[in-house]
């Protein structure tokens, strides 16, 4: 898959490798919404527009992570990873519960 600037913190491949086809997209898109929610929650509102413009312009630009690191007061990398792990746990649970009995 083509890279988004936060992919290395998320590790979506760990769970999408377990499924195929449109299920991969469903998982990936779920993760994007959660991660953007996490970022925008911690990013001061006055920086939202600049961040969104840069994201829409080049979603893979590593400069995006540097930008949000500079303007957030928490450890945003840690927050993204924590949120991603929680989402992956939920998705994994869903996969396990869908096993044929």
């Amino acid at each position: 898959m083509n890279k988004i600037f936060y992919d290395h913190l998320v590790g979506i491949d760990e769970i999408t490798a377990l499924v195929d086809g449109d299920l991969v997209d469903l998982m990936d898109n779920t993760m994007h919404h959660h991660i953007l929610d996490e970022i925008l929650t911690h990013l001061p509102v006055e920086h939202h527009k600049a961040f969104l413009e840069r994201l829409a312009h080049a979603p893979h630009d590593p400069g995006l992570l540097i930008f949000i690191q500079e303007v957030t007061v928490i450890d945003i990398e840690k927050a993204i990873t924590k949120r991603a792990n929680a989402v992956k746990k939920e998705l994994l649970k869903t996969i396990r519960n869908s096993r044929k009995k």
Partner: protein, 300 residues
């Protein structure tokens, strides 16, 4: 996928996706609207990255080699991200262009040529071999794909199929007489083509035979001052009509890269001829300096 109830799994994952989407929309409605308006909702982020990378945009380590653009504190040679590079280009272009989209003076065109030479290392001019279009700065609108050979369909084009394909041929006919005779360079020409208003040239009717050949696949530099993006394309169609308020048309790939559409489906661009007798300048996104052996302009 063996051992899973795929239908059940899909339903559950769809539900999780829906909840995440709803939460995002409720908590960040401004972000939802912004990204949707820009055509890059969260679901399209990866697709956007794929497009940029497949068109050669922003790929590899891009190192700025035009000293006049360098102004950071990390050394005499600036190391800019693609975003920073486009911001720099926007800033420089805004200083060289008039505040409104209007006819450029000869002096403005000359300054722009110098600027393009210094940044991209190419010879781009508003007038070449005594030929000039009625506009060198104007509005570009989105065109559809062109049929490349008899029987060509939109499904045979490898990208941006949602733009559709024109029912008729371009002003210079098919790119090749048959599918078997299509070559890679012709595929690239259709990908990166522009339409220009040759039909409104004062001498079009009196010199049509010469001008038709001169303009066919003439290489042009198209620069969007609003996005700071530049692309090299060829002239492969005539238009748009004067009543549209646009002076140029861009192929789906050209428009996608330039990010040249606003809410009215048009945007301002500078369009200059590229003097490239040795065919050194490739078609597509211009993110390198030709004279410096293709040295990239920014670092990812």
């Amino acid at each position: 996928m063996a051992g899973f109830n795929k239908k059940l799994l899909k339903n559950k994952l769809a539900q999780q996706y829906y909840l995440a989407h709803q939460r995002f929309v409720q908590r960040h409605p401004h972000a939802h609207v912004f990204l949707k308006d820009r055509g890059v909702p969260p679901e399209k982020l990866r697709e956007k990255a794929r497009r940029l990378l497949s068109t050669g945009a922003l790929t590899g380590a891009l190192l700025l080699s035009a000293p006049q653009l360098a102004h950071n504190t990390r050394g005499s040679v600036a190391v800019l991200s693609p975003y920073e590079l486009s911001q720099e280009l926007k800033e420089k272009l805004s200083a060289l262009l008039p505040a409104t989209v209007e006819a450029l003076t000869k002096n403005q065109e000359k300054e722009l040529s110098k600027f393009f030479r210094s940044v991209f290392g190419i010879d781009a001019q508003a007038e070449l071999d005594g030929n000039r279009l009625n506009h060198s700065y104007g509005y570009i609108g989105a065109e559809q794909h062109l049929p490349r050979y008899p029987g060509d369909t939109i499904s045979q084009h490898d990208a941006i199929q949602e733009s559709g394909i024109t029912p008729g041929r371009g002003a210079w006919g098919y790119f090749a007489p048959s599918k078997n005779e299509m070559k890679e360079d012709l595929v690239e020409k259709e990908k990166y083509y522009v339409a220009v208003q040759t039909m409104y040239l004062a001498d079009w009717n009196t010199r049509m035979l010469q001008l038709r050949d001169w303009y066919k696949y003439r290489k042009v530099l198209v620069v969007n001052p609003k996005s700071g993006k530049a692309v090299v394309a060829v002239i492969a169609d005539a238009g748009p009509a004067i009543w549209t308020g646009k002076q140029f048309g861009g192929s789906p790939e050209v428009m996608d890269y330039l990010e040249s559409k606003d809410g009215r489906q048009k945007g301002p661009v500078v369009l200059f001829f590229v003097n490239d007798p040795d065919n050194k300048v490739s078609l597509g996104p211009l993110e390198y300096n030709v004279e410096r052996g293709g040295a990239p302009l920014a670092q990812k």
